[in-house]
């Protein structure tokens, strides 16, 4: 093939046809692969049904054995009854099928002999990349294979007799797990261990209690729960002759360590940020709220991703209705993949079509903790370094945690500044267009003449010029975010400096327009919340176009529409503009940031069950506190909110 033939082949549509040997079936007929998958699904359904039947059978058998009726603990007992087979080979085969092994290289099955007397065949199963291998080696394999034959003379009251090691029904009626993982979907395994009596000579309980030094290990009766554990980095131990398996917590996947915030910078305040590991994130929050009432509930979302979503709240402060609603929305989701809290946010917010985010996402654990203390709910999705605060109001989108860390006058000024930035970001362009195209008498004469002089040399009409510049600005911003960091500075220079300079020198854009673009762009970056800033930037274009078509009238109509929309928006049932619209009593913490001793109540808009945040006199040492207040505090102490 000569070079021009190769070149010509690039332009030849026939060359792009797939070779006859390979096609993904883009020609109408249903490809055999899909049929194959359907068959496999059907087979799996059959297996599931069989497993279910096994469970039901065992349950009934257990009932018969215990003699009594199902009672109130029937459902609970059913949870403890699994579908695992006593045969090790059968269990492993089912596991392989589910994991598509041996095609799937990640499923590691290590078959061993447990060195008890007599030895027992067992298998240690884990997923490559999810489990910590050193832990498996030293804490699972080593005790099972090397240390199990040692006589354990230390005998505790709960231990089975030492000489009857593989005792029959050794652990009857005893608590199985050394520690219950919060992910355990059901109550403990003791009922199943005691009542099912499936394994006739099962040493599982003894292994669990004596041979596994892992700090979280539990007995799993069902294959699905074992798979759940495996997928989360646990190691499963199947023992021949046991119809249950043990999972040991051996999570060891790579995790970024806690580092400084990337988006919500502060100059004063803590410098740790959430990471992708949600357990670490929960720890970061729990470190800040040392109260036993801080509850972490864990749900799973996504049929493929099985993302853990932690719902955190402070019981006794938060409104239980709110918690119920959050849990209802999260657990009802029917999606396959939830990659990050950004996806979760869109799935649970009230009005997904709105320009404004109705949840508050933050990467700062201190901020999440502060909202928890106010009675909000925080949702943490696994693999996402952002927490969602629910519900969120419009005002909270304009606040930062730093507002509270600096003294109140400056905190207030910062907030007002941000309101200014909000107006600037949204309206500057539109106002300029309206004034320059319709309302010439709005601009001071000198400025007007200056603008007119500059505009004379620009070939584009003012509206087009501004839109052009705004789009260019967005391009620079977007390119700056996406650019590989190696050539980032280049884009900065080319985009901002050269282009701006060249535009003005070529007189394609007047300096006024460049100033306005830069000003509104800068102002939009002063909005602390990323997605709110995005919404506002989008609104800016809408206002420019409105001003272009209708002048100030258009801006007024647009503002009316935006305010109408905001007033109608709700976040988890809380009006988006509350506590200002509808107006309820609130601490001076909305548009300004009052002194801390004034913030006596939690936000009324989220209806916390305990609305008082602090005592009426937060600083009792201060002799300038009016005696009247002091006496009241001494008198009734609580100071119920009126």
């Amino acid at each position: 093939m000569t070079w021009w033939e190769r070149l010509a082949a690039l332009l030849d549509p026939a060359a792009t046809e797939p070779p006859a040997a390979f096609t993904l079936g883009d020609r109408g007929v249903q490809p055999p692969e899909e049929l194959e998958e359907t068959r496999r699904r059907l087979r799996e359904v059959q297996q599931t049904a069989e497993a279910l039947r096994t469970r039901v059978d065992r349950y009934l058998a257990a009932l018969e054995q215990s003699g009594g009726g199902p009672g109130e603990k029937g459902a609970e007992a059913y949870q403890g009854i699994g579908d695992l087979s006593p045969s090790l080979a059968e269990n492993l085969e089912r596991l392989r099928q589910r994991f598509r092994a041996p095609d799937n290289a990640d499923l590691i099955i290590r078959e061993i002999q447990v060195a008890t007397r007599p030895p027992v065949r067992a298998a240690v199963v884990f997923l490559e990349g999810m489990a910590e291998k050193a832990v498996i080696n030293s804490h699972i394999l080593q005790p099972l294979m090397l240390l199990a034959h040692l006589d354990h003379h230390l005998q505790g009251p709960g231990d089975p007799p030492a000489d009857s090691f593989p005792a029959k029904g050794a652990a009857r009626g005893r608590e199985g797990g050394a520690g219950r993982s919060p992910r355990a979907p059901g109550p403990g395994a003791e009922a199943g261990a005691g009542d099912s009596g499936g394994g006739t000579d099962c040493p599982l309980q003894a292994i669990l209690q004596r041979l596994l030094p892992g700090n979280q290990a539990e007995v799993k009766p069902a294959l699905d729960s074992v798979i759940d554990g495996l997928l989360y980095g646990d190691t499963a131990i199947f023992v021949d002759g046991c119809d249950r398996a043990i999972t040991v917590e051996t999570k060891g996947f790579p995790v970024r360590s806690v580092s400084t915030p990337q988006q919500e910078m502060v100059t004063r305040g803590p410098l740790d940020a959430f990471t992708e590991a949600f357990r670490v994130n929960i720890g970061l929050i729990r470190r800040r709220i040392k109260d036993p009432r801080l509850v972490t509930e864990i749900l799973q979302v996504g049929s493929l991703s099985r993302t853990y979503v932690a719902i955190l709240y402070v019981d006794g402060v938060v409104n239980p209705k709110l918690v119920r609603e959050v849990k209802r929305r999260v657990s009802s989701l029917k999606v396959d993949y939830v990659g990050s809290s950004g996806v979760l946010e869109q799935l649970v917010e009230d009005r997904p079509l709105s320009l404004f985010p109705q949840t508050l996402s933050t990467e700062r654990p201190d901020r999440a903790a502060a909202y928890l203390a106010e009675g909000h709910v925080v949702a943490l999705a696994d693999n996402s370094p952002f927490a969602l605060v629910l519900p969120a109001t419009f005002w909270s989108q304009l606040q930062t945690s730093e507002d509270y860390y600096i003294r109140w006058p400056f905190g207030s000024v910062l907030r007002w500044l941000r309101f200014g930035a909000l107006v600037t970001a949204v309206l500057t362009g539109g106002l300029y267009i309206a004034a320059a195209n319709y309302h010439h008498d709005m601009i001071p004469t000198e400025l007007l003449l200056f603008i007119a002089a500059r505009r004379e040399q620009v070939p584009l009409p003012a509206g087009l010029e501004l839109l052009f510049m705004e789009v260019a600005f967005e391009l620079i911003r977007e390119a700056g975010t996406r650019i590989p960091s190696v050539i980032g500075p280049t884009i900065g220079i080319v985009g901002a400096l050269i282009m701006g300079q060249a535009l003005v020198e070529a007189q394609l854009a007047s300096p006024v327009v460049i100033i306005i673009t830069a000003l509104s762009g800068l102002a939009s970056f002063a909005i602390p919340n990323y997605s709110t800033a995005f919404g506002l930037r989008t609104l800016r274009f809408a206002f420019i176009i409105l001003a272009l078509v209708l002048g100030i009238y258009g801006i007024a109509v647009g503002l009316f529409g935006v305010v109408l929309h905001l007033a109608g928006l709700r976040s988890f049932g809380v009006p988006y503009l509350s506590p200002l619209a509808p107006r309820v009593r609130h601490a001076p913490d909305v548009t300004q940031r009052g002194p801390l001793f004034d913030m006596e109540f939690r936000p009324r808009s989220i209806r916390p069950v305990d609305s008082r945040r602090q005592a009426p006199v937060a600083r009792p040492w201060d002799p300038t506190v009016p005696r009247r207040l002091r006496r009241r505090q001494k008198g009734d102490g609580s100071g119920e909110p009126r």
Partner: protein, 448 residues
């Protein structure tokens, strides 16, 4: 949705104009056409390119405005006419001043204009109105500001100086002119300007040579407004060696535009006021009279004043007077003839006592206060006399004080204040409060 769009489009402003398609009139001159019939309209139009300071060439020498004059029957027609030869659409939205020619103001008066200006949306009602001694066209064409590069800025800022001098009426803008003309209780005044007539006397260029420029106003001899010349020259910087004399009265008593005792600077002078009656100009008042007028109207801010030193004859005491509280009037209609007495509180700060008399001492304070009082009351009496006898026009607005005595507007209208005002007995007293003595209490004490 369609309804919404229709509703929006009906309310929208469809007269979109790019800035660079507009010609902004910065100052508007209106004169009577000498050939009779119609107006002569002069527009000072901005040339933004030159004005924005950033032309390619140096830019300083070129005119930043163009002045054009057209003759038309009405103002809109004149604007139309201008539109035909100016390529941009002419707009009055940024008009800073309106200059009326004296003949127009005296003969045709404000009525013909008023209807148009009252209806015309784009004219700001806060535009100051000036009456030029000659014509508005001349003022706009010849004006040569020195401090400002742009003549319209000069015209815009000049009326503001009255806040500190009190020599020009406060708030003589279009809206006030229109409403005061319609109100039977008060008559309007307007700014009164004139160009200095010596050609080449004060050019914009050559600021360095200004002091050496010999042709001051030597040939001007007295000027027109010389009724105050008996005091002239006493404090006005005695004729120095070789420097030509500066004619004109040295005290605001006789200051009239076009004849101020000065040399150098811009060629426009604005002092005093044009007095209107029934929308027609009937006379002019001097700077001092305007100051009294501002005091009586309660519009006075502050001004410098020199009064004869009561304890050292021949010397003057320099003072700054400020408005105290608003003037209080007491009106009675008993006996058929309206009697009005008023008290005008004034606060005084001593600025300089050349004679060295220590007026801060309690026994001397009274004398100084009486001198100030006498000075101000004399001015007020003169103003009232001229208003009643010469102009028969209630520029002070005393009618507004009388009107509340009538139960209905009709009764008040029937009273005919126009005819009653000249015969009213008016007695105004000035209450002088010596408040401050400046940075030091006592005069310097030489040699002792």
């Amino acid at each position: 949705m369609l309804l919404l769009l229709l509703a929006l489009s009906q309310g929208g402003c469809w007269d979109r104009r790019e800035l660079e398609e507009m010609a902004f009139v910065l100052a508007l001159g209106l004169d009577q056409d000498p050939e009779g019939g119609g107006l002569r309209m002069t527009a000072m139009v901005a040339i933004p390119n030159k004005m924005a300071g950033g032309g390619q060439d140096g830019g300083g020498e070129e005119d930043t405005v163009l002045v054009t004059t057209a003759r038309a029957a009405t103002v809109p027609e004149g604007l139309n006419l201008m539109d035909t030869y100016l390529d941009r659409r002419i707009s009055l939205e940024h008009t800073k001043v309106m200059v009326l020619g004296r003949s127009l103001a005296e003969e045709e008066g404000l009525w013909p204009l008023m209807d148009f200006l009252g209806r015309f949306r784009s004219v700001r009602r806060t535009v100051p109105v000036m009456v030029a001694e000659t014509t508005g066209e001349e003022v706009l064409a010849e004006i040569q500001p020195v401090l400002e590069r742009d003549p319209h800025r000069y015209l815009e800022f000049l009326p503001f100086t009255t806040r500190d001098t009190g020599l020009s009426p406060q708030g003589a803008h279009l809206h006030e002119l229109l409403t005061f003309t319609e109100n039977p209780g008060i008559e309007p005044v307007s700014h009164w300007v004139a160009l200095r007539k010596q050609p080449g006397g004060m050019n914009t260029e050559g600021a360095g040579k200004e002091g050496a420029r010999p042709d001051g106003g030597g040939k001007q001899g007295g000027g027109e407004g010389n009724e105050g010349s008996e005091d002239g020259g006493s404090a006005g910087g005695g004729p120095g060696q070789g420097s030509p004399p500066l004619p004109g009265p040295a005290e605001p008593r006789g200051w009239e535009p076009g004849a101020l005792p000065r040399r150098g600077g811009p060629n426009l002078e604005m002092v005093g006021a044009a007095v209107f009656r029934d929308g027609r100009m009937v006379g002019t008042m001097s700077g001092e009279e305007v100051r009294s007028l501002n005091l009586l109207r309660g519009r006075f801010r502050r001004a410098f004043l020199s009064v004869p030193d009561p304890l050292a004859p021949g010397q003057q005491v320099a003072l700054e007077i400020r408005a105290g509280q608003a003037p209080r009037y007491r009106v009675s209609l008993a006996g058929g003839r309206p009697a009005i007495s008023g008290r005008v509180p004034v606060e005084v700060e001593v600025q300089g006592i050349p004679s060295g008399v220590d007026y801060s001492r309690p026994e001397h304070q009274g004398a100084l206060a009486r001198a100030v009082q006498a000075e101000l009351e004399a001015g007020i009496r003169k103003l009232i006399r001229r208003a009643q006898e010469e102009w028969q026009s209630d520029v002070i607005g005393l009618g507004l004080r009388v009107a509340p005595l009538f139960p209905t507007y009709d009764r008040w209208g029937a009273y005919g204040w126009d005819q009653r005002f000249p015969e009213a007995a008016i007695d105004i007293r000035v209450d002088v409060n010596l408040r401050r003595f400046g940075m030091q209490l006592q005069p310097p004490n030489p040699g002792r």
